[in-house]
Symmetry: C2
Subunit: 354 residues, 2 copies
Amino acid sequence: VIACAPFPIRGRRLLLLAEGSFCAADAKTAVCLAMYRPGDVVAVLDSTRAGRRVGEVLGFGGDAPIVASIDDALRARPEIAVVGTAPIGGGLVEPDRSLVARCLEAGLDVVSGMHAFVGDDPELAALAAASGARVWDVRRVTEARAVSDGRGCRTGAGVVLTVGSDCGVGKMTTTVELERAAAQAGMRAAWAATGQTGMILRERGIAVDRVVADFLGGAAEALVNLEGQGVEIVFVEGQGSITHPGYAGVTLGLMYGCMPDAMVLAHEPGRPRYKRLGHDLPELRDLIELYESLMRPWKPARVAALALNTVALSEPDARAAIEAAERATGLPATDVVRAGCARILPAIRDAVRR
Amino acid sequence: VIACAPFPIRGRRLLLLAEGSFCAADAKTAVCLAMYRPGDVVAVLDSTRAGRRVGEVLGFGGDAPIVASIDDALRARPEIAVVGTAPIGGGLVEPDRSLVARCLEAGLDVVSGMHAFVGDDPELAALAAASGARVWDVRRVTEARAVSDGRGCRTGAGVVLTVGSDCGVGKMTTTVELERAAAQAGMRAAWAATGQTGMILRERGIAVDRVVADFLGGAAEALVNLEGQGVEIVFVEGQGSITHPGYAGVTLGLMYGCMPDAMVLAHEPGRPRYKRLGHDLPELRDLIELYESLMRPWKPARVAALALNTVALSEPDARAAIEAAERATGLPATDVVRAGCARILPAIRDAVRR
């Protein structure tokens, strides 16, 4: 039931497809690969930003060129094209579909996290067959037919789930950074990828939002039992938010499938409303109570720390936002990218060990 | 996106397949059809109870014979065979698969709510094609690709969602009975079927547990906007329970998709633990608070009443259980089957109108 990349991704030459959208708000997958695989990215396709470099546009991510066309991109000799956008509903729409077609024609392997599968599109599949290009439809789920029974992780590893106040607040980044920090602190640690972007980094996982709803918890349970093998702590990438009308079902199914010992709440200070919905976000304290009260019938899992995404704030404003959140909640807080995990890791470790 | 029965069911001669399991705990779909379509059921297949009558075994449901074999069943001249069991995981396993094969061979239309589709089984599909039998795979979901945005029902109808303390506590029955009682009280009322059994009764609906998790809320939203047309109140069949490790994701996705104005909590007094899980159920008051606090960020939807399933209790014990639940929660309570809806309908109507 765990999906694995059918070809290696790490260490190979990546072209990121992000036409018209190469910024953190619109091209989550592309931006994330630029952040975590800057040495692998050889070109980004976005004609609206062509001529600039990745680092110039994002403030991080290396100096690969941003180009206007597939022909320009091919000059950088990419081996894999990654669909870098994450539209609501996950359709493979224009211009992405045509760009993917061109890449397959040119023999590039294609990685796509869309709900609409490249491999199921007869025209695209024929192009791949003709050129020998391989396709990883990251969200394709197979054999997921288990219903979760609430037993969670049975490997002996402590489970930490990243939860959020909304979509796109940094749950995946928080998960990756916490795993790295825990390993650096000498813990045997692993992380479990539950969404398409995380899966591309990890080269395996389960796109839990793609699983048939009845089997979501069972899929999460299988995943945490795989990633929890041989480690003392496993950080699970969360999805959505428990009060998000579009995704809360996925959030809760994932919670009950992996049955965390502790949670970390990711949030973007200064974002007062749900992304795209224009409705006020709940107060952090109410959110924390909601997450904890849903876990209470099963185990006393606490929200142990806050991971604040302050990318849009100045350094002093970020510091002030972190301090304000700590005062409001009584929990340690950090921006894991800007300030590292040192401030929150001990509280997380303690919460897991209790 | 709404599934509709491809042939009429109501008023036709039904054979219920419930081999080895014709009781309320194991054959939910069969028992429910016996309850609501006693005049349509012409035979029930269960060799372990053969020779008895439906009413003898269940205490309701008419006097159709329970038979030991398909040959015996065919003597009752059924037109439609309904797979009457609801196994966890929804596989079409033996003996059900062989029984379905025999029915298709005999030219009976087949209705199945399993996750494993009859129509996708090459051998069964061939039998159907050969005899001209038609198949309704009730859980098949098509074109569900919408993400819910939290707007719920926009037809002007008030939405009442039946929620539960566990699976199999009577959410569907409560929904059906409330709709009937509301109509009898002069309200323009409808109900929305969200699970396979309800869909067979209603001849349409969406099996929300079968929808890809990302699109569950969107599917529920579409359904409530269909069933809410031209009525003042729509009762939505709930699924699972908000603290059930296997199904809570479905429960919450459905809540946020239909955005109820009020909820009715179904519960079986005297069931201290989750069915099949052996873990204590939460207290009713904690459950009510959980359901209401999850709705609070979106609308002030209250749990307005309790629907208690007292089928396993004596009359005096049932009365005592209902009174105890009312005292513990401060809400009006009833057993909708045993005592009707009169005691709770006014509170529900008031909660919707507020």
